[in-house]
């Protein structure tokens, strides 16, 4: 690692786990208010270099911390996240707090309601510190598409943190929050978790409510946690999962105790390894690190066997057609009429729409709106959008087939470790290929976890993606725990 990169090592002190912090609050040896204040100090110290936070919700956080300290003083039973400092990606809304989605077009917007996950975190006792930088409307793989400047990777500040939940991953890696929420449409939690060396969870589609998530592609969008270790991430998921009448796609299935599920041993689990994820284009050091992770699973008593996912190579084209088509429809609401930015001095309504959108949206968002509008336009719908939806079914069915033979599938999360800032910004297609291993699970609706699986020789984190069938998050957590326990 270069000497410059070493300069940021001081950011990476080993933080306490959620359970340790909560125990301190329960015992009265730690005050939630002091803990929040310490995190705000750290944010003030570190944020100027990393650009992780877009806004702080200090007043609300300190009120919540005081509430938790009251409960603890009275000896009341404390909820799962009592006093734990958590931050959320700025695509989730909190009443009265800025919600930018990394875009200029939402400048000045103060949402009048809370996302369901915000309400759930607070009722579980979490102290919400603030809102985290991300690619504009969650569109990007490097966090370089934020209108508020890129986040830097705490492991090496010359490199990107991944995206689009770059702030969510970097905040955990730099201990600027104990845990965070991100959103994942094509890899936006898992890939930055991989680049920053933290745990990131893609819950099953419908497992976590999307109410209050600013929509990108509604059939793919998911909200999930990031944390410093697997058990903390499992605890967070337990707090935010469950049915929500405000999201018609949210699942009625009961929510298990994911932390307890993650404690179960992995002996006897069947682990599938798809050759398609280890083909050309995979960085040799990433390949080697994932190989060590797989060996650790074998040592822990898992049976490792090959599985075949032959349509994998079609996933990125399918994803970029479907996601952009849905985005072009979802982003039609940003028109300068009801909230956010309006271009001044337009003569007509139609000119006001296009000026507001032209000035409010960044280049990547425009590119995707254009691609999606094209794919949905008369004469092209069947050739692009319908074709993509058909291949989406083939991709999903081949996963279901594979999960008939194995309990979990493991792959690299990304083909390369964190790349340099500016390295891929000139070539949108090269940037899209950063998602090559994550988009299939998005399209199929299955769940997964990124777990750190060692580093490259220069110290950059490598992430293993552990995938499990719909609503089997517990299995993915167990496997991830075994990789984590190997301390690669």
């Amino acid at each position: 690692m270069s000497s410059e990169a070493k300069a940021v090592e001081s950011y990476l002190e080993k933080p306490k786990t959620l359970a340790e912090l909560r125990a301190g609050i329960e015992a009265g040896t730690t005050k939630a208010a002091d803990l929040a204040a310490r995190y705000y100090d750290r944010i003030a110290q570190v944020n100027p270099r990393l650009n992780v936070y877009l806004s702080l919700t200090r007043e609300r956080a300190l009120e919540q911390a005081a509430r938790v300290d009251d409960w603890a003083a009275k000896g009341d039973p404390l909820p799962a996240l009592a006093g734990i400092p958590v931050s959320i990606k700025d695509v989730l809304v909190m009443r009265g707090a800025p919600a930018t989605a990394g875009s200029r077009i939402l400048e000045g917007y103060r949402p009048p309601y809370d996302a369901t996950v915000v309400a759930k975190l607070e009722s579980a006792g979490a102290v919400l510190l603030g809102k985290l930088n991300c690619d504009e409307f969650a569109m990007g793989s490097s966090n370089e598409n934020s209108a508020y400047g890129p986040v830097r990777n705490p492991v090496d500040t010359e490199r990107v943190p991944g995206g689009s939940s770059g702030g969510s991953a970097a905040a955990v890696a730099a201990n600027m929050a104990v845990a965070t929420l991100g959103s994942d449409t094509g890899g936006s939690i898992r890939q930055p978790a991989s680049f920053c060396g933290v745990v990131g969870v893609l819950p099953t589609y419908g497992r976590v409510s999307r109410y209050g998530l600013i929509a990108f592609a509604s059939s793919l969008d998911r909200v999930g946690p990031l944390a410093g270790n697997v058990r903390d991430a499992a605890t967070l998921l337990g707090a935010i999962a469950g049915h929500d009448p405000k999201d018609a796609t949210s699942s009625l299935a009961p929510v298990p105790d994911y932390a307890v599920e993650s404690d179960r041993p992995v002996e006897g689990l069947r682990i599938g390894v798809p050759a398609e994820y280890f083909a050309e284009g995979l960085d040799p050091e990433v390949r080697a690190a994932i190989g060590r992770g797989i060996a650790a699973l074998e040592s822990a008593g898992c049976t490792v066997k090959p599985v075949s996912l032959p349509h994998t190579k079609y996933a990125v084209p399918v994803y970029y057609l479907i996601a952009t088509a849905e985005a072009s429809a979802n982003l039609a609401r940003f028109d300068g009429v009801r909230y956010g930015y309006r271009s001044p001095d337009s003569e007509t309504l139609s000119a006001m729409y296009s000026h507001s959108r032209d000035e409010g949206f960044g280049a990547e968002v425009k590119r995707r709106i254009l691609l999606g509008t094209y794919a949905l336009s008369a004469g092209y719908y069947d050739a692009y959008y319908r074709k993509a939806q058909q291949v989406r079914r083939l991709l999903a069915e081949e996963y279901l087939l594979a999960f008939g033979e194995v309990d979990a599938i493991v792959t690299p999360t990304a083909p390369v470790p964190a790349f340099k800032l500016g390295e891929k910004t000139g070539d949108p297609l090269a940037m899209y290929l950063a998602d090559i291993y994550t988009v299939t699970a998005s399209l199929a609706g299955i769940c997964g976890v990124n777990v750190p699986s060692g580093t490259t020789s220069s110290g950059l984190p490598v992430g293993m993606q552990v995938l499990a069938r719909h609503l089997n998050e517990g299995t993915a957590f167990r496997v991830a725990r075994a990789v984590e326990a190997a301390e690669l």
């Binding site: 959108r357 094209y374 058909q390």
Partner: protein
């Protein structure tokens, strides 16, 4: 699917999406869209005749037999309280207290 996008196509799609592109921006978008469409053309290798499109995955959860309770997940269609008018209008760039105000709709 082999058809390449022309400048006119980009301009037409931009108009449909209410996006205004600067002249320099149009040429960049043209290049990027053609590169992306060339790349997605590899889907044509696949024969998908008879494959039903998959718009979203709830049906797969049912097939997997793990979420059968999800059938009929829509709530009863009852009128419920929503955000009040003043709260919503407070976010708008321009209102007359009762309605959103916009520039003139019909050009004379």
């Amino acid at each position: 699917m082999t058809a390449k996008v022309s400048v006119e196509d980009v301009e037409r799609v931009a108009e449909l999406a209410h996006l205004e592109l600067a002249p320099g921006e149009t040429s960049g978008m043209l290049r990027d869209l053609n590169a992306i469409l060339d790349y997605v053309a590899e889907l044509n290798e696949l024969n998908t005749e008879g494959v039903a499109p998959l718009a979203q995955v709830s049906e797969l959860l049912d097939e997997a037999g793990q979420d059968s309770a999800d059938k009929g997940v829509l709530r009863p269609d009852l009128p419920l309280a929503s955000l009040d008018r003043a709260t919503v209008l407070a976010q708008a760039p321009e209102t007359d207290q009762a309605f959103f105000k916009v520039p003139k709709v019909i050009e004379r």
